[in-house]
Every structure is written in structure tokens, then in C-alpha cells.
Amino acid sequence: MQDEPPIVSEMAPSAAGLLQKSMQKLGEPRILGWLAVAFVLITWEVAVAGARLNPIYLPRPSQILIALTMMFSTGGLLSDLLATLARIFGGFAIALFAGTLLGIWMATSERVSAIADNFIAALYPLPKVTLIPLLIIWLGTGGPFMLAISTLGAFFPIVINTVLGIRQCDTGLILAARDLGATNRQVVRMVLLPSAIPSIFAGVRLGLGVSIILVVAAEMVVGKVGLGARLYLAGQVLETEQVFAILIVLAILGVAVTKAQDGIDVWLNQWRLS
């Protein structure tokens, strides 16, 4: 293999070199990943077309793409997407605010912690989907219900991680802040909270994931608008392309949320780098 005649590479440096270079580029992990996606999609397209499968079972990627654009242009999918996003992030915002606040309170007061601990221990491991029937009885199936289920999903991971983050704060930093004249309030705001941010953000990641799951699930059960509702409806009337199209939207939503979180994480942790 290593005995390739040197003359060849000398005589045709441009063509052979170019081919080698482009092959190398194809082997790069990033490009390889996208190539694999393209390969699966093309194989899927060709195989379904060749086998003449009923599109009710498995539509071709091109059909799904057409369904997706149709749904956005004339089918009002955008308003469903916005409704779902509003529910997820509305509830998440409430959970972030209330969860961080309770977390700080619990971490700085043994009494508050003792009072809240048992309730959290009981509610945290409970799968939150099981609360959907009860919440419907209390709140109906409208906006308040959707906000409540989304808040519930994100609340517990955020509280627990806030408490953990604050309790792990280096006591030397607290002493230094007090020595420099910081009041208790300032110690919380300027020392405990910033030092807990990596941990709080880990809770945010978990919490937002749970919120997305819960909102879509709740929409599937009782929603009239929203991605979950559209997904369920499309499935019932065997519009399989539409089912796939909505799954793609949900997947892209997931990727976008993850990437945004990565970006925020890097920004928040500038001081940890280098």
C-alpha cells in the first residue's frame, strides 16, 4: 500500500491531489454526519418508491416535505407552533422565577428547607403526566391548564438544582463578601446566586425538556390548537405525511432549544474557560 509509485503523484498532482483532498473532506466527522442523514433520506425515498408502499404506512421524504410546506403556508401550522411555544416558555418562565426564589429560600433557611423538603420529595419523582386528569378537573383544558402543566414540569428540577448550587458555594467566598461589608441580601445576590448559576442552568436544561414533553402530551390529550393537538388529529385521520411533518417540527424545536442552551451556557461560563 505504501509502495505507490512516486511517478504517479508527480505526474498528475492536480487531479489525484484534488480527489484525495475531497475524499479527506468527506471523511471529516461533521460532514460525515450530514452525509449519513442524506444517505438515509435518499435510501428511504428510493426504497418506498420502489416497493410501492402505501403512503399511509410510510410516506416518502419528498411527500413529507410537501406536506410540511403546505401546512405552514395554508394550514396554519405556524399559529399551532406559536401556541405550543407560548405554553412551554410561559410555564417555564414562571417555574424559573418561582423555582429559583424557593431554591434560594430553602438553601438559606433551615426551617423553610425542612417545610418544603417532604413536599418536594413526594412530588418530584411523581411522573407529571399523571397530574393531567387532576389539573383538568381543577383548571379545565384552556390556557391556565397548559401553563400549569408546563410550570410543574420545569419547577422541580430548577428548585432542586438551585438548592444544590447554593449549598455548594465556597464558604470562603461568603466570608470574604461579609468581610468587605456585604449585607445578607448582597451576599445572596452577588455571591450565592452567581456561584450557583452553573447548577441552576443544569436544572433549567432538565426542566425545559420536561416542559416540552408535558405541553405536547397535554395538547395531544385535550388541546384544540398546538403541535400536539395537530399531531393527534393528523394521526386519527391517517394523514401520515402530516404526522411526520409535525414530528420534524418538534425535532427541530428540540435541536434549537439545545443549541440555544449551549450558547447561553458558554456565555455564562466565560470565566471558567482558559
Binding site: G172, L173, A176, A177, D179, L180, G181, S195, W271
Partner: protein, 269 residues
């Protein structure tokens, strides 16, 4: 001069704290001394003798179980209000998410000093400790010696009447330590602040202090109080003076028995 001429009196201070498991620990037992203004007082003793605890009691971060700290107007003997104090810590205790400049400005920020003055004072103090140009760096990007310079600047920027030094060079290598000791000696001599230095280095105590308090093993008590009459400014060459070596030997003899006691107790604990 910022010094107000306030002396610190430590009257019969004891501290016993309850350990999470087992019997309560008696950290300090009836400690009494007086620190004169504009003097450097070194507190030296074996590990775990409560010398850092004593510093936190003086600063008001810990409350003694018995006894008290009094601040006295040195000339008149009247009670004085609590002077401005600032601490330099063994573990630096810099805020890792704040830049060098923001670390130094922390105390000014929490006490409500206007932004323009904050920037000006921070810049000046960083220059004093030879850290100009590092304002935008994070502590993680600095060496141990540089971090402690920032720690020192963070304390000095408060214009303290009393500078509390809690084993400030304990976490540094021997060479860095020498350089910083000399730098600190100059800074303290120039500023005329009162300083309390906790250390377990006899050399450091003699180089920096006017008075040395030698403490016993736990429970910490004052075993001896010594004046250091060596001329200033002091530097490494001070260690060649005969007065230096006799003082060193004297302190060493006092400490040795206590260190052995402390070691035995640690082993049996």
C-alpha cells in the same frame, strides 16, 4: 494618614463550638491581649490552635462564647467605634466569576461608592501591588502569587484602619512568598495601618511584625508576647542579624512543644 489611632483589646475571649459529631471543641481559652494602632502584630501557633478563628472574632464574623473585643481610642482610652477592617485570606477567596478589577471593586460596590470613584481607586490599588494591566483577567487565569496580590488590593482599596492577614502567603511557593513578604512589609510601613498577621512561619512573623503573640496548641491561649526590636525596613538580610536568630530560637523553643502536642492530639483524634 487613614489610621485613626484605635487600639484593639481582646478581653478574655473564649470560643467553644459544637462539632457535628462528638464533644464540643474548645478552640480558644481566655485569650487576652492588646494591639496598638499602626503596629503589626503577628499571631503564631501550631495548626488548629484557633489563630484564624481569633482573626474572624476580631473582624466580627464570629461571636466568642465568652469575653469580647473592644476598640479603644489609643490616646484617651475612650471606647471607639468599630474601625474599617479588611481581610486577606489564605485561600485568596477571590470571586471566580468576577474579573480582577471587579473583584477589587467588590467592597466599594456593596458599600455604595460611586462608579467613577470605584474605577479610580481600583486602578490605583492594582498599581500599588504591581497588577496594573490585569484588570480584565479572571482569577483562574492568574498564578497564585498574582491572585494574592489581587486579594491584597481588594483589602487595601477599602482603606482599612486595620488590615487582617490570615496566613496570606500560606498557599504560595517559597520564592513567591519571599517577594510578596517584602512587598507587604513596604506597603504596611508606608501606609501606617494597623495589621494583624496570622502565620505559622516564624521568619514571616519576625520580618513583618512589631509584636509577636505565640499561641499554644488547642485550646489556644497566649503563651508569650514578644517585641521585635529589629530595625526597619526589614528584608531578607535582616535574617543575618544576631537579634534575629536569638529571637527565632526563642520562638521556636516555645512553639516546638506546642506543635508536638498538636500532632499527638491530631493522631489520637
Amino acid at each position: 494618614m487613614t489610621s485613626t489611632g484605635v487600639a484593639i483589646a481582646c478581653d478574655d475571649v473564649s470560643l467553644t463550638y459544637s462539632a457535628k459529631s462528638g464533644a464540643p471543641v474548645e478552640a480558644l481559652r481566655r485569650v487576652s491581649f492588646r494591639i496598638d494602632p499602626r503596629q503589626v502584630t503577628a499571631v503564631i501557633g501550631p495548626s488548629g490552635c484557633g489563630k484564624s478563628t481569633l482573626l474572624q472574632i476580631i473582624r466580627g464574623l464570629l461571636t466568642p462564647s465568652n469575653g469580647r473585643i473592644r476598640f479603644i481610642e489609643a490616646q484617651t482610652g475612650a471606647a471607639a467605634s468599630t474601625p474599617q477592617m479588611a481581610t486577606v485570606w489564605q485561600g485568596f477567596n477571590l470571586f471566580p466569576w468576577r474579573t480582577v478589577a471587579d473583584n477589587v471593586a467588590f467592597g466599594l460596590e456593596v458599600t455604595g461608592i460611586p462608579r467613577q470613584e470605584r474605577i479610580e481607586r481600583t486602578r490605583r490599588c492594582l498599581a500599588q501591588v504591581d497588577m496594573a494591566g490585569f484588570e480584565a483577567k479572571y482569577p483562574r487565569q492568574l498564578s497564585g502569587g498574582m491572585r494574592q496580590r489581587v486579594g491584597l488590593a481588594r483589602a487595601l482599596v477599602m482603606k482599612p484602619d486595620v488590615l487582617l492577614l490570615d496566613e496570606p502567603f500560606g498557599a504560595l511557593d517559597a520564592q513567591t512568598r519571599l517577594v510578596l513578604q517584602e512587598q507587604l512589609a513596604r506597603l504596611v510601613e508606608k501606609s501606617g495601618t494597623t495589621a494583624v498577621l496570622v502565620t505559622h512561619s516564624i521568619e514571616e512573623a519576625i520580618l513583618l511584625a512589631d509584636t509577636i503573640l505565640v499561641m499554644t496548641a488547642r485550646p489556644g491561649r497566649i503563651a508569650a508576647e514578644m517585641r521585635v526590636a529589629l530595625p526597619r525596613p526589614r528584608s531578607l538580610s535582616t535574617t543575618h542579624l544576631t537579634g534575629y536568630s536569638s529571637l527565632f530560637d526563642q520562638i521556636y523553643r516555645l512553639l516546638r512543644d506546642e506543635v508536638v502536642k498538636a500532632m499527638i492530639e491530631t493522631e489520637s483524634a
